[in-house]
Amino acid sequence: MSATPWQIGDVPGPKQAHILRPEVFPKIVKTLKRPLIVVGSRKEVSEDKDIANNIVIMAKSMNSPLVVSPSIFKSFMKFKDVKVVCMGIEDLVNHLKEKEWKGFDDKGNYDSILFVGGVYYFQSQMLSTLKHFAPHLKTFSMDRFYHPNAEFSFENMSEVRWVQEFKGMIEMIKSSSVS
């Protein structure tokens, strides 16, 4: 467990992600006005039904649409009461970096982007684009890898611990959204 980049050489420079503790995130959620959850193509995430369900619960609780990487869209299309968009992540990031983009509901760009399930090195570069060219956005990485290019990132942790903490966090978000 540490805040060194998951890929040892992925040291971008002086600006690196603040560590985000899963148990603290539910409090942050309340401050996010227009969140967007982005699910990458890593099969460990999409093929685990439990995790996919939890991501959807998170989206519903936060009133956030889900953008999922095209290759895993099939695992998410069955969820009906949440907006699920199938879109290439590079294309999405290209839209997000434009402050004036209208979003998927024509109501304007989002204010915070939550990444989960991306291929590490690909996601790292997408976060880098947003770090440099989208100062209007907050970015969060919720994978089990410390992503230095995010603004806030979970630290490195084992798969088992991540699943446990991720679910715990979503429980908290869910209950606080109900209350």
Binding site: G40, S69, E90, D91, N94, V119, Y120, Y121, M126
Partner: protein
């Protein structure tokens, strides 16, 4: 720029001169009556307006790899949060600069490769040796004709093209120094220029070697040759060539043939040299792409390694020494700190190498290097083989040291669970290691991080030994150019869209999940009757998989440039023929003039020719420059996820209608033509995304309704099959109801209605105002 002096007729007391053209002191016999277009030998700024037009639609998208700049002594400069460096540069322009540097590295590699091979062939055959690519190829050098504006007839004519390329590279490189270019858009324009000269260098190199060596000349039935780690006959002395320049390798074969012993020594190659060896002689064998380098060298099978240029691991000599393999480097780009024995007598070089007093030497003379390699291999093979004891036990003992610390995985470029695989070997379970072999890049970065110094790549080799032994495949040897007759046959259906597209699999072997995904992609498009072409490491990796009938794709599909075929053009430099095929279509089918006429041809390709490249494992700077050159000509390129590390894409925004207008040539009206092609350079995260994106990017404004219907039916079908839904952007690609696939028409019309679709005009499209022939 070259100064051209034309003398139509001159009569003096000394001589009578007619039809003479003088180009910087060189006499060009001008027999080509095509009118010279606006940009022969374009300077850095001659095509800038075209670049800016492209970049306005396909904005550079940067993903910085590093937040700092350390290019001068003012640095390091922190470029985050909008900060500028001491020189005034911001992160966007700094990224443009880095991209330009990468493209220049690539272009310089191809230019030196071309220079070396042209010099070598001129020395062997003379300056007047004809450029000749076979009976059915009159348009021998589409890129040279297009860019340089000359029609090369002899090897010597290529020298002036190389002079031009080298000049451009110097000028472009100077623009990257501190205090020179400052705008990211102009860095990109310069990168496009670097890419263009790179592509010309590819063509120079390949047409020279096709003409002067005995390579296939556009032969769709080029022979099937052996490929794989298992095809090497270890009972014979083995010489391995690594790199890209075939000169020394071909001299090995020459010497063996002259000595009457060809066949008793194995001549094998890794990377593009291997392709070109099999183009030279079908008796040569391909070990595999560049990813096989470390593992094969460590096996100790090679007695002698010949290194030429590009993609050579910089630790290869050390690795070779460990297993007693002798090494000869042959090109000035790779001197490797070795003693230069070019001028030493052959017998004394052999003595030094055989005795091991110099296990590695430099010989800048391909013929001499070839002879030495053969003699040394013959002499050391018997005793070396007897001495090489299997390192199996040593490796198995080493894995027991694994502490499951996980550092290897965290240093793996593609995040493989190599830690789990090594640790599982504790329990004598080598299954995971053998499994990882299929995805592993065999780069060795994991082992250099391992605190226990476990030779992980060797462990993978031992675990996957059975697989390696059975790696025996067939690949069609690189055929080189596309014949004019083939272009005549497919030009119309491609331009009208009736052949759904040309999909080129190009680039290196830096795949996210092994080569199988590449094979699946190629198979998918060939089955659907796209024209599938391949080159370089990708062409090899397409062969590294057999179907249930035991066939590789090259055995399953014909090698023509036609619908439903898969052809291998050859090595990296043969990418020229893939790009050149698009140029040839514009000339042969559409009768567009090529000579110094870059913009018009690029405009033609962008708007009319549905060609897309997929560089699934792009790794090298050369792949960046080739792709950027293709982009300038209007050919989109799709990268695999590792391609994000090139730091720059060229992305269109389908939602911005104003970006997708074209002029209608016949009315002069500016009309919306839809986002086709949507991107010029796009990074995909998965195989599925790459396939569907390719099916989308082959669409062009010029497609006829029948053509668009065919393209759309594949796009919709692939989208449904791989993503599970009808494309969300369908309405952007349907111009009229006649574009809709008949079997789905009613269903799709309902979808379109919901999305507020309205029919649009089918223009005769161009981005160039000067192409308008009539204004209404």
């Amino acid at each position: 720029m070259t100064t051209k002096l034309s003398i139509k007729e001159l009569e003096s007391s000394f001589a009578k001169i007619k039809g003479l053209e003088l180009l910087i002191g060189k006499i060009v016999e001008e027999e080509w009556d095509e009118i010279v277009g606006p940009t022969p030998y374009p300077s850095i700024t001659d095509l800038r307006a075209w670049d800016h037009r492209l970049l306005q639609r396909y904005e550079p998208f940067y993903s910085p790899f590093c937040d700092m700049c350390c290019l001068c002594t003012f640095g390091k400069c922190d470029l985050t949060k909008g900060k500028k460096g001491s020189c005034g540069i911001d992160i966007r322009s700094q990224q443009g600069k880095i991209v330009l540097i990468a493209c220049l590295m690539g272009a310089a590699c191809h230019a030196t490769h071309a220079r070396h091979i042209v010099n070598y062939l001129i020395e062997k055959k003379g300056r007047d040796y004809p450029i000749h690519l076979g009976e059915e190829i009159e348009l021998e050098a589409p890129l040279i004709r297009l860019v340089a504006g000359i029609k090369p007839k002899k090897l010597g004519d290529l020298e002036e093209v190389l002079d031009y390329i080298e000049r451009q590279i110097t000028h472009l490189l100077s623009a990257t120094a501190t205090g020179q270019e400052e705008s990211y858009i102009d860095f990109e324009s310069k990168a496009l220029h670097a890419g263009m000269v790179d592509n010309v260098a590819l063509e120079v190199a390949d047409i020279a070697q096709i003409s002067a060596l005995r390579f296939p000349k556009g032969d769709p039935d080029a022979p099937l040759v052996d490929l794989g780690m298992g095809v090497i006959d270890k009972t014979k002395p083995v010489i391995l060539c690594v790199g890209h320049n075939v000169a020394p390798g071909s001299e090995i074969i020459n010497y063996l043939e002259q000595s009457g012993i060809y066949g008793s020594v194995e001549v094998a190659g890794i990377c593009c040299t291997a392709h070109d060896l099999t183009r030279y002689s079908t008796g040569a064998k391909i070990v595999g792409p560049l990813s096989r380098q470390l593992i094969f060298v460590r096996s100790g099978v090679a007695d002698v390694i010949i290194l030429d240029q590009e993609c050579i691991r910089t630790d290869i000599i050390d690795e070779a020494k460990k297993v007693g393999t002798r090494v000869i480097t042959t090109i000035d780009q790779v001197c490797a700190g070795l003693p230069d024995m070019t001028k030493s007598p052959i017998e004394s070089i052999i003595k030094e190498l055989v005795s091991g007093s110099f296990p590695a030497v430099l010989i800048h003379d391909p013929a001499k290097a070839g002879e030495v390699a053969v003699k040394v291999a013959l002499e050391i093979a018997p005793s070396r083989r007897a001495k090489i004891i299997s390192d199996e036990q040593e490796v198995l003992d080493a894995v027991l040291r694994c502490k499951d610390c996980g550092r290897c995985r965290r240093n793996c470029p593609i995040d493989l669970s190599i830690d789990e695989a090594v640790y599982a070997s504790h329990e004598k379970n080598f299954g995971l290691l053998a499994q990882i072999y299929d995805q592993c890049l065999l780069c060795g970065r994991c082992e250099s991080e391992c605190p226990e110094h476990i030779p992980i790549v060797s462990a993978i080799r031992v675990a996957a030994m059975e697989k390696i032994r059975n790696e025996k495949y067939k690949v069609r040897s690189g055929r080189g150019p596309i014949k004019d007759t083939e272009i005549r046959k497919v030009g119309r259906p491609i331009v009208m869209g009736e052949i759904p597209g040309v999909i080129a699999f190009v680039g290196c072997a830096n795949y996210p999940n092994g080569n199988k995904e590449l094979v699946e992609m190629a198979d998918e498009f060939a089955k659907r009757r796209y024209i599938v072409v391949a080159s370089g490491c990708a062409a090899m990796d397409i062969a590294r998989y057999k179907d249930e009938d035991g066939q590789t794709l090259y055995e399953k599909y014909a090698g023509d440039f036609d619908a439903g075929c898969i052809l291998n053009t050859g090595s990296c430099v043969s990418n020229a023929h893939i790009i050149g095929a698009a140029v040839k279509i514009a000339n042969i089918f559409a009768k567009r003039r090529l000579r110094g006429n870059f913009e018009e041809i690029a405009d033609y390709i962008l708007n009319r020719i549905g060609a897309v490249a997929i560089a699934w494992g792009a790794q090298h700077q050369k792949a960046a420059s080739i792709a950027t050159g293709a982009n300038r000509l209007g050919i989109p390129v799709i990268l695999g996820p590792q391609g994000v590390k090139y730091r720059r894409a060229y992305l269109g925004r389908a939602d911005k209608k104003e970006n997708w207008t074209v002029y209608n040539v016949r009315t002069g009206k500016e009309v919306y033509a839809g986002p086709a092609p949507e991107h010029l350079l796009y990074v995909t995260e998965s195989k599925e995304e790459a396939i569907v994106t390719a099916a989308r990017l082959v669409m062009r404004p010029n497609d006829t309704s029948k053509g668009r219907m065919i393209k759309l039916s594949h796009y919709i079908d692939l989208h449904q099959k791989l993503y599970g839904i009808i494309p969300e952007d369908l309405h952007l690609f349907v111009r009229t109801e006649a574009d809709l696939p008949l079997t789905m028409k009613d269903q799709l019309l309902k979808v379109l209605k919901k999305r507020g679709w309205e029919p649009m005009e089918l223009p005769d499209p161009t981005l160039l105002e000067r192409q308008i022939i009539r204004r209404e």
